[in-house]
Amino acid sequence: MNMQTFLGMDYNVWWFLVFGGVISGYAILDGFDLGAGSLHLFLNKEQSRRIAINAIGPIWDGNEVWLVIGGGALFAGFPVAYAAIFSAFYVPFMIFMVGLIFRGVAIEFRSKEPMLWWRKSWDIVYCVASILISLSLGLMLGNVVEGIPLNANREFAGDWLSFFNPFAILVAITTLALFMMHGAIYLTMKTENRLFVKLHLLANNFTIFFVVSFVITTLYTLLYIPHLSDFFRSHPGYFTIPLLMTLSIANIPRQVKKGKYRYAFLSSAATIALLLIMVALEVFPFLLYSPVNPANSITIYNGASSARTIKILLIIALIGTPLVGLYTSFVFWTFKGKVRLDEMSY
């Protein structure tokens, strides 16, 4: 295979970076609105819930686009991995997708009728769907990190019930906790008065929830799946990344206490990115590892599209990413500041 390189890295590595970047963007952006949804039922008053929904109202749809771009990036650059992952995770993914549908519908439909029972029912749908989505994302991530059995055609060769193993469940809970913390911090930036005070407290509580589940997951990994940290044992220089991540986590309650919610939000965004960088370093160059028969694993080379397609994709990303960045910033800038309800609000 002829490898073209750019800045010392071949195109497949570059596309892996692009894909990782999109996934991080998705986790950071949809992470806070999924988190806001997951903690929705902790808010009691109808008015509070309405403000919380409108805090994500104009942007959640744009955030979800990152999932579509991520799916497209995987399909385009690494079709073998795309095919294997989605046919393997058939059941969790269907639940994930039904969750996505119901969540979007709940946001859209909730405000359309004034009756309390109507709104309360959609609140429950919205919250449960957000939790299910976060958990299933974490569950799939956990299984990708651990690896799943693949056959010689690089297709899943196991039982889907095995996805519900302790490590994947721990990752799922950690993901949910991370999103809830991230979402609570986001909402503090968008709210005022009593609701704001409540969210400040929730942000603290969810930070504790996250730290506890993260520590348990880490301990479990080090004790029972030690090979997942092989990379960091053999590359001590990269220890800076877990170090940075720990500092970034520690900075969250510090900034929340000081009332600097924007910095707290940036710290939790950095935490998400650093966590995913750690995952990427651990799995690289595998996209889907097959622990039973490692020869069947899918890597960024044997699971990739042709060199020509990857080159086209990189050009598309090069043109498209600044554009997306530009109008995403414009939209966020338009809706900056505290939520103000008007006649077009949800």
């Binding site: 497209g72 399909f75 079709p79």
Partner: protein, 459 residues
């Protein structure tokens, strides 16, 4: 039932349901751009109220379109893993481009469209409306390019053998502009615009019949009627170009569309009829030699028939392809007839006098929907047994690891979810229509707008 038929039913069901919404977004997008442009130019509050009203409906339609569309993107991977590997190198780049260029543009600016009225100025808002419309047009580009490549593959070569064979790009632009891309894209775009126009016509016809919001309903109706007239006539042209393309590149599909079996005979063009599969003959009301004329320019020229294709290389459901194709044409003609008749009455200044016509327009909203679905079924069933024409069979394209039970599980799940979704959609759409375009406190401004001179839209 086996995995193949279940997976096909699931795909047809989920794509068919999805395909109600994006065409409406595209068509409504154009109407929003026209209405808001007129508001910016004239400053007439009537258009502002109309735009605000249709944006609320647009948001509802767009929301369901996004939710059901995400399912489609991942369904390739869940149910059609072999297909995904086969076409990933080609299809993937189109899909990635759709995500990054079209979908992000649309969703990003939609927030401003719906919630930005008090946050940005009217020009920036208009710009956002135009961007949302462009975004929806672009998203149709990539998905139709990908589908057209499956109909008429170009710009690729095959690498590997057996189960590991896959198509790789050799020429990106030849792939994008494959022989059927442009014709099919124009056909899809125009069909989408008609879907939007007939929705606006339907709602406003209902208002006029019930003597509600007349100041807004009449000019809106006329805008939509103009759009419907222009685009239903243009559709004749793109439809005939598409048929030429099918004749040239997919002769088995063409033969199935007209139920033509005998290669040595002239081919008729049917208006109505059915295919008798046992006798291998289509019967019904037809123009003798019409298809021969379409393909070769002579009424007596023979056209290649289904019998000349091996049984496993031609569509098995010939009658279904035949019926869907003719339903599409009948519906298209009905839209042209309605638009021309309505425009003629408008010219005679009698547009809103004929109550029966307004009733027809109220129900006319289903015409483009039927046409869109029938058109896609013709295109997709007519391509069978191939998923990539001449290269990859549908039966080979499945996910090898997914079992029939898993598909039944998800099919039941989707059926329930989509039925609930559809009921809620109709319920909310109805509520929004009943509420109408007039916001509180703006009635005087509307009446003021209605009094102002507006020669183009004068009754």
């Amino acid at each position: 039932m086996d995995v193949e038929i279940l997976a096909r039913i699931q795909f047809a069901f989920t794509i068919g349901f999805h395909y109600i919404y994006p065409p409406l977004s595209i068509g409504l997008g154009l109407i929003l751009v026209i209405m808001e442009g007129m508001y910016l130019r004239t400053g007439n509050k009537i258009y502002e109220q109309a735009v605000r009203f249709w944006i609320r409906i647009f948001a509802l339609i767009f929301g369901i379109g996004v939710a059901t569309g995400i399912i489609m993107e991942f369904e390739f991977g869940t149910n059609w893993a072999t297909y995904s590997k086969y076409v990933g190198d080609i299809f993937g780049s189109a899909l990635a481009a759709e995500g990054i260029f079209a979908f992000a543009l649309e969703s990003g600016f939609l927030g401003i469209l719906i919630f930005g009225w008090n946050r940005v100025g009217p020009r920036v808002h208009f710009f956002s409306t135009v961007m949302v419309f462009f975004g929806s047009l672009f998203s149709a580009v990539w998905i139709v390019v990908a589908n057209s490549w499956q109909q008429t593959p170009a710009g690729f070569h095959i690498v590997g053998q057996g189960m590991n064979a896959r198509a790789e790009i050799t020429d990106f632009w030849a792939m994008v502009f494959n022989p059927s891309s442009v014709d099919r894209l124009l056909h899809v775009w125009i069909a989408a615009i008609l879907a939007g126009a007939f929705l606006v016509l339907s709602v406003n016809a209902w208002y006029i019949l019930h003597k509600k919001h007349l100041e807004i309903a009449r000019p809106s109706f006329k805008i939509a009627l103009t759009v419907a007239l222009i685009f239903s006539l243009l559709q004749l042209f793109t439809g005939s170009r598409s048929a030429d393309g099918v004749a040239k590149y997919q002769p088995a599909k063409l033969a199935a569309m007209e139920g033509h079996y005998d290669s040595s005979a002239r081919a008729d063009m049917f208006l109505l009829g059915y295919v008798n599969k046992k006798k291998e003959k289509a019967v019904g009301l037809s123009i003798p030699g019409g298809l021969s004329f379409l393909v070769h320019g002579h009424f007596d020229a023979p056209v290649r028939g289904l019998r000349s294709f091996r049984a496993d290389e031609r569509p098995s459901q010939v009658n279904a392809v035949f019926q869907f194709y003719h339903i599409m044409i009948i519906v298209g003609m009905a839209m042209i007839a309605l638009s021309i008749y309505g425009s003629w009455l408008w010219w005679r200044k009698k547009l809103f006098d004929k109550k029966w016509l307004l009733h027809v327009f109220v129900w006319g909203v289903v015409l483009p929907q039927i046409g869109n679905q029938a058109g896609w079924f013709t295109a997709e069933m007519g391509r069978q047994p191939w998923v990539v024409y001449g290269l990859l069979r549908t039966s080979d394209a499945l996910s090898k690891t997914v079992t029939a039970n898993q598909i039944i599980f998800s099919l039941i799940l989707f059926t329930i979810v989509y039925i609930v979704l559809f009921i809620l959609f109709i319920f909310l759409l109805n509520r929004k229509i009943q509420h109408g375009p007039v916001d509180h406190g703006t009635k005087e401004e509307i009446e003021e707008g209605a009094r102002r001179d507006n020669p183009m839209l004068e009754h």
